[in-house]
Symmetry: C2
């Protein structure tokens, strides 16, 4: 049923999430892009109470399949054929770690333009590889490779590039605020506790600040649990027009805003794409930070979650350490952040992450998030960021979804 | 000025081409994705009489940049930063040789959905590499690599895979019809003659059927000039909403239909995506084959052009050899096919081709195609195809554009 009360974005026509699917995230050595995609897509189609034959177009997000599997082109056609999709258009979309949100944006425009009534947005990533260096070299491809690595592109020795950038942002933030390594560890403790309640999460445990700080260092100020893991996984959404939503005998969730921008993902460098994207999304959806019941943010590192609190307006500038300490962003708090466990605990199969965030938001709004349910969740935001050119020009996506409860 | 008489597609809102740009196609050893993209984009923005700062979103098509340049991710952000684009969203789109038409489709939906008023659709490809084997191995990534090449993906020894598929289709077609190798050569003679009139074409010459047949064989029935070359190049379009089109002090061309499907690109195998896509495009645009003044088809090989005549309804099944012999598809003929020189002569930088086809169609409709002008051209179709999974499931795109003359 379509909720008459929710507000529409500035798209011409309204777009609804009618079904969601997600695999368990983790290192799944026997999985392929085909098996992962098929599992998520069939779940989403089943959840929508529809059939794969009703799908009119598919938007397939994947970031490093070319480097890991050799499937440089038409990965979506190859993967979705396994799910039984035939004849309809498949668009392969890439925006580094924001690939899935970008596919969602394009899928929503496909419906809002009147071109399609029922579409799939799918994100899938096979990151693990018997040769770990291949995975790390692949991740290096999300920078301007000419500038950073020279004409031969990234190699195994370049593995720390992205964590170095995150670390340098974290240190700058810690120098400018009261943030301590204990605050970074507190993010991990919260997200691990959330992940322990998510059967599809890669990790989840009752850890402590002391244990997180005592873990193996990666690059100052991060220890291993402060960095998102290497993950395999897929997630899928069935998006429908208002006409189709009204025909479905089920509750749907509306996409109130889908905003993608270029720019830095943090407030410490560049043009701060996250706060620009959030401001635009709030305006389009007609809601503010105080209306959000939950947020899934791009916690590629623990510090990235704190910066996101401020960029998304969940607190004042510099207020993130106090916010996480207060418990307001933990289950039971005022605005729960990363109830799924986030990238740190749920996992981060990079081309799938943005859609998995919307899967979580949808399940929360529909009241079916089990042990990690945010009571009465009605309005949710997701924040997904990818790529890094110099210190700017990655892709940042903010999505707001809402429903009736 | 917006032409009131042209008919709109089934998109909610009308979409117009307001500016076009294209580099010279060819082997350009000193070029990069950045230099090629910048050249095409600045031309298109200038042609639209607008400024790069007016662009609200960019859709960037590229197919093998990951394999050739190591830029596996965010190639569009990296390339378009050189053109001065900042902050706005960039969507990286891939669909093998149909990448550019897919980006065009998504860009048009971005405008038709009401999300954006002025967007860029860009296609760029750097195919040439000092090690030729790298180029051929990269092209192999447009198949189901698991099925065709095994877990290690394509390698240098697999270079003939795609030409083998085209050749097998060509031989089947020749066995089923009156088509001879002379007819294949006639396509080359025509397209080389057209290319000689196109200052942005890679090749162009006054060749003969005898010379084409005497050239070095590739795989039966093809000789070298019957196969599209390795090319570097870029092409760009500025697409605008009706509101903006009315504000511009220039003639615009309307996108009457943009259809993408999955399926085989030929009538010999699979589900014939080309004829399905064409039928849908005709229905959406409200025109028929008899209304087309010119067509740019995906002549990756000479036989592919003949099959396209039939799939697009330019003649009856089996009628293509007679059609090319009659001269109807040459400049001065009834329905001119590939006035630009097509992939065979203009060149085929794979991620740029579909947009370059629309650049040609736009220039023809605006009456500024110079020595290769189709007199009174008003309605044009482009046909762009990419990828091959088994014998099916590639992407096929058909676009119809129209204007007032």
């Amino acid at each position: 049923m379509v909720d008459e009360e929710t507000r529409s974005s500035d798209m011409t026509m309204r777009v609804f999430v009618a079904g969601v699917g997600q695999t368990v995230f983790g290192r799944r050595p026997d999985s392929t892009l085909k098996t992962l995609s098929t599992e998520a897509v069939l779940q989403a189609v089943d959840d929508a109470g529809t059939d794969i034959d009703r799908i009119e177009a598919a938007y397939f997000a994947n970031a490093i399949g070319g480097s890991i599997t050799g499937q440089e082109m038409i990965a979506g056609q190859v993967a979705l054929r396994s799910a039984g999709l035939a004849e309809v258009p498949v668009f392969n979309v890439e925006n580094a770690c924001a690939s899935a949100s970008s596919a969602l944006h394009l899928a929503a425009a496909g419906v809002a333009s009147g071109t399609y009534d029922v579409v799939l947005a799918v994100g899938a990533e096979k990151m693990s590889h018997p040769d770990k260096r291949r995975t790390f070299a692949a991740i290096g491809g999300a920078a301007d490779v000419d500038e950073v690595f020279g004409p031969d592109g990234p190699s195994a020795s370049d593995r720390s590039y992205f964590m170095d950038l995150y670390a340098s942002n974290a240190l700058a933030y810690m120098a400018a605020t009261e943030c301590t390594v204990e605050d970074l560890a507190a993010v991990v403790v919260k997200n691990q506790a959330h992940g322990a309640r998510n059967p599809r999460a890669q990790y989840g445990s009752a850890t402590t600040i002391e244990a997180v700080l005592a873990a193996r260092p990666v690059v100052e100020p991060f220890t291993v649990p402060m960095c998102s893991p290497v993950s395999d996984g897929a997630a899928a959404l069935v998006l429908v027009s208002e006409t189709v939503a009204r025909q479905l005998d089920r509750e749907v969730v509306e996409i109130l805003a889908s905003v993608v921008v270029s720019g830095s993902r943090t407030s410490e460098t560049g043009t701060n794409g996250s706060s620009r994207a959030a401001a635009r999304a709030y305006a389009r959806a007609g809601v503010g930070p105080q209306d959000l019941d939950m947020v899934e943010v791009h916690d590629a590192t623990a510090s990235a979650e704190l910066l996101a609190y401020e960029d998304l307006g969940l607190c004042e500038r510099g207020g993130a350490p106090a916010l996480v300490r207060s418990g307001a962003t933990a289950l039971g708090g005022r605005v729960v952040v990363n109830p799924s466990g986030g990238l740190l605990a749920k996992g981060h199969p990079i081309g799938a992450t943005g859609i998995a965030q919307v899967v979580e938001a949808t399940d929360q709004i529909l009241g079916r998030a089990g042990d990690r349910q945010v009571p009465g969740a009605r309005t949710a935001m997701t924040h997904n960021a990818g790529g890094w050119v110099g210190h700017d020009n990655g892709a940042v996506a903010v999505t707001i979804v809402g429903g009736r409860r």
